[in-house]
């Protein structure tokens, strides 16, 4: 949205100055897979206003900002107690930032974009990149009205081939088209593998007085052990709404770990339980976020394409923020596209200037300082803290210039080497049961995500080798898809047809589009493709 808005501003300014050389917005289109703009957007969320002030200097007067951050604290949790950090570490100081609902914020941005004269096609997913002679020449949208056997229904509507001089990928985390692009042009060459975390979030309405409007709390430690990466956020919003969630690094060892269960366990801590007591959970959702940092960012522009936002990996993993970077990257891509329009030059050379714009902007400055942050935690929390301290005094360098990383899914350990009880992890492995008040089982949570798909359509979770599921995976990892998916999409059900006695059932209609399965599957046989446009969660107020 920021990209479209910036482009529109530049075109308006140009047209005002050049009456004889007008540029049109007629052919700028935005494809959005959700039925309504913002419906698939989920974040904490805290907004660092830096880029918004550049985009719309007066935005604070009209944007839906729920609260200004007034108070913050960081805690280290043990099972029964909490220890407050005596000072809030600088990256977690949030004064001047805003607590927002990214859903409402994006909806508002969408209205601006439409008012500016750019068409948003809601309910249309990009299902394929059109590539000719190594140049991206457009996007194919999804077919509509296909039944679950792949046959056309009476209301079948084929996808369109939208030809474009320039395609800007802003698909969010683990973009499905971005994945195609990266694979096709080896964009991950010489990069660190992207690593991710999955944030599982609940929105609560609590009795008044429990938390201040604009109060921000971060926790580390329990219920994770020192071997897992992650932590929780609790934000006080307006109208006694509390946003809370837990981000679990998708580079854990124990394949039985269940991120939705982690959030439930976290809520049972006396500190959280007290905060939520007598309250009501109103919304649920989950989304992955790219943690890999600067060294995992792919090349940003090429022949006919640019990548922005989470799709490019613009997240500051230390500050747990990416919205401001996504907006800024969108603006820089818009400036590049605008220049390309005026020169009518959409070549690699022109679109690669987006790369240098990013490198000369405060995006690079901000990400460079934390380029090795997440990698520092690969061997656990304590070593991570030492690396962080070293990086802090060496402007992000730490022990060596570039910390390498490994793809998180490769770190899962086989069941044979794990204790059956889970030991310290007993409270976060396997499915959460839930008491129906403070804690919930997965299906109850998923119900609160408002997720809806056309039922009669092909599964949009494509498993390339179902054999592995009932044979190797059952034995080696115990089918972790049942655990890492926060929406109960994957289920091993009894079957007499397969040797192992259990086969995979995919409840695709439950999918909240978080992309965890595409990332965390140990054999990398799951591909997330967009379902029929319009389907997905409804993250009202998230």
């Amino acid at each position: 949205m920021a990209c479209a808005l910036r482009l529109s501003q530049l075109i308006d300014a140009h047209n005002a100055k050049n009456p004889s050389a007008q540029l049109t917005k007629e052919n700028i289109y935005l494809l959005e897979k959700s039925r309504e703009t913002g419906q698939h957007c989920l974040s904490g969320a805290l907004l660092d206003p830096r880029s918004m002030r550049e985009l719309l200097p007066d935005f604070e007067k009209e944007a839906p900002l729920d609260a200004e951050v007034v108070k913050e604290a960081v805690y280290f949790l043990t099972k029964k107690s909490k220890f407050k950090f005596p000072i809030t570490p600088p990256p977690m100081r949030d004064h001047g930032n805003y607590v927002i609902s990214i859903n409402k914020f994006v909806k508002w941005m969408g209205q601006k974009v439409e008012a500016a004269g750019i068409t948003i096609f809601n309910g249309f997913a990009g299902s394929e990149l059109l590539i000719e002679n190594d140049r991206v020449v457009g996007v194919r949208t999804d077919d509509k009205g296909v039944d679950k056997h792949g046959e056309k229904k009476s209301n079948f509507e084929p996808g369109y081939d939208l030809k474009a001089k320039c395609v800007i990928l802003a698909e969010g985390t683990r973009g499905s088209l971005t994945k195609q692009l990266v694979a096709r042009f080896n964009l991950d060459k010489d990069r660190n593998p992207q690593t991710y975390g999955v944030g599982v979030k609940e929105l609560w309405e609590v009795p008044s007085g429990r938390i201040a409007k604009g109060e921000v709390i971060y926790t580390m430690g329990w219920p994770l052990t020192t071997q897992e990466y992650g932590g929780a956020w609790i934000y006080g919003s307006k109208d006694n709404i509390v946003s809370l969630g837990f981000v679990t690094g998708l580079d854990y060892h124990d394949p039985r770990i269940d991120p939705q269960h982690i959030l439930q366990e976290f809520k049972r801590h006396p500190f959280t339980a007290k905060l939520l007591e007598g309250g009501k959970m109103v919304r649920y959702g989950a989304k992955t976020m790219p943690y890999g940092g600067w060294y995992a960012v792919p090349p940003l522009g090429g022949d006919g394409w640019m990548i922005i936002g989470d799709s490019a990996g613009f997240v500051n993993s230390q500050r747990l923020k990416g919205i401001h970077l996504a907006i800024k990257s969108g603006m820089l891509a818009a400036e590049t596209a605008f220049e390309a329009m005026t020169k009518n030059d959409f070549s690699r050379v022109q679109l690669e200037t987006y790369q240098s714009r990013v490198e000369n902007s405060w995006i690079k400055e901000e990400l460079w300082k934390v380029r090795n942050f997440h990698q520092g935690f690969e061997n656990g929390f304590f070593e991570g803290m030492i690396h962080t301290a070293l990086q802090q005094i060496t402007f992000g360098r730490g022990l060596h210039e570039r910390y390498h990383g490994v793809a998180g899914h490769t770190r899962q350990t086989k069941l044979e080497s794990l204790s059956p009880s889970g030991d310290d992890r007993a409270g976060i492995i396997g499915p959460a049961r839930g008491d129906g008040k403070l804690t919930f089982d997965k299906l109850t949570d998923v119900y609160h995500s408002g997720t809806k798909h056309e039922e009669d359509q092909p599964s949009h979770l494509v498993v390339h080798d179902l054999n592995i599921c009932s044979t190797r995976c059952t034995v080696e990892f115990g089918n972790p898809c049942q655990n890492f998916c926060p929406a109960s999409v994957y289920e091993m059900e009894d079957s007499a047809d397969v040797p192992g006695g259990k086969q995979l059932r995919i409840n695709a209609s439950n999918c909240v589009h978080c992309k965890t399965c595409d990332i965390e599957d140990p054999y990398q046989v799951i591909t997330w493709v967009p379902p029929e446009g319009g389907g997905g969660p409804n993250y009202d107020g998230m």
Binding site: T119, K144, N155, Y160, L162, G450, N538, D540
Partner: protein, 250 residues
């Protein structure tokens, strides 16, 4: 076509507990989507023009845009926050006033709305216009004298009715299969005519609401689980008894 809160939207009551707060997602009232689809199909068969009409605040324009994107030719928007609080009688009066200069042959409405669920607006509109109406329509055929419609009755029975035109039909969900809006349709919808009607223009036709919501509340959950114990044969017996005498489904 009415804009209603999305079925799975988390609803909150407004301060006076007479309706919900409006910060939720909205969608096209499902029965109205079927009514539009039926109108488009009739147009495709017999020619003519499809006009979509709604009453509601600015946000309700979305349903008109959706209608235009699917193939309607033009739209009428009775735009005012005040239209939300009207009862079915007043809503019908407002529509009648807004279309007094139009020459329609058929008015399609959904059978009922997913929010208030009165199932009255279409029927009363017919009364005001002095037109015949038929409800729960499952099929429409054109005849020499007008139309023949199939109504859904209870227990699998249907009724076929011959009607003259003009007429009002309230359409049952599932009568047809909804189409998708196309990219081209969405693009073209932007340039289709949309007439706005203000509250002032129709005010003189409205009266006091004859129906009013006194109080709205969210029901307490009273789910109760009872475990039947004993040997299977005994449990089955108990279960049958319960289903017969307490739940009364057998």
């Amino acid at each position: 076509m009415k804009q209603v809160p999305q079925k799975d939207a988390p609803l909150k009551l407004n301060e006076s507990a007479t309706w919900i707060r409006d910060d939720v997602s909205y969608e096209v009232n499902e029965p109205d989507a079927y009514a539009l689809e039926e109108a488009l199909r009739q147009k495709e068969k017999h020619g003519g023009e499809v006009v979509v009409i709604t009453a509601g605040p600015a946000r309700a324009q979305t349903v008109l845009r959706e209608g235009l994107a699917k193939g309607a030719d033009r739209a009428i928007h009775l735009e005012d926050n005040g239209f939300v609080g009207l009862d079915a009688f007043n809503t019908a009066k407002a529509f009648a006033a807004a279309i007094k200069d139009e020459q329609f042959d058929l008015i399609f409405t959904g059978l009922q709305s997913d929010d208030y669920g009165y199932a009255q607006t279409g029927v009363i509109l017919a009364q005001i216009l002095g037109w015949p109406h038929a409800t729960i329509i499952m099929h429409i055929d054109k005849t020499d004298a007008g139309i023949k419609v199939k109504r859904e009755l209870e227990a699998g029975f249907f009724q076929n009715v011959d009607m003259p035109l003009p007429a009002v039909l309230t359409i049952q969900s599932g009568i047809n299969k909804l189409r998708y809006a196309t990219l081209i349709g969405i693009k073209q919808a932007k340039n289709k005519p949309l007439r706005k009607v203000t509250m002032d223009e129709v005010k003189s036709s409205l009266g006091d609401n004859m129906q009013k919501i006194e109080k709205l509340y969210i029901p307490q959950k009273t789910k109760k689980t009872e475990m039947l114990e004993g040997p299977p044969a005994e449990v089955a017996k108990k279960l049958v008894e319960k289903l017969k005498n307490e739940v009364r489904v057998l």
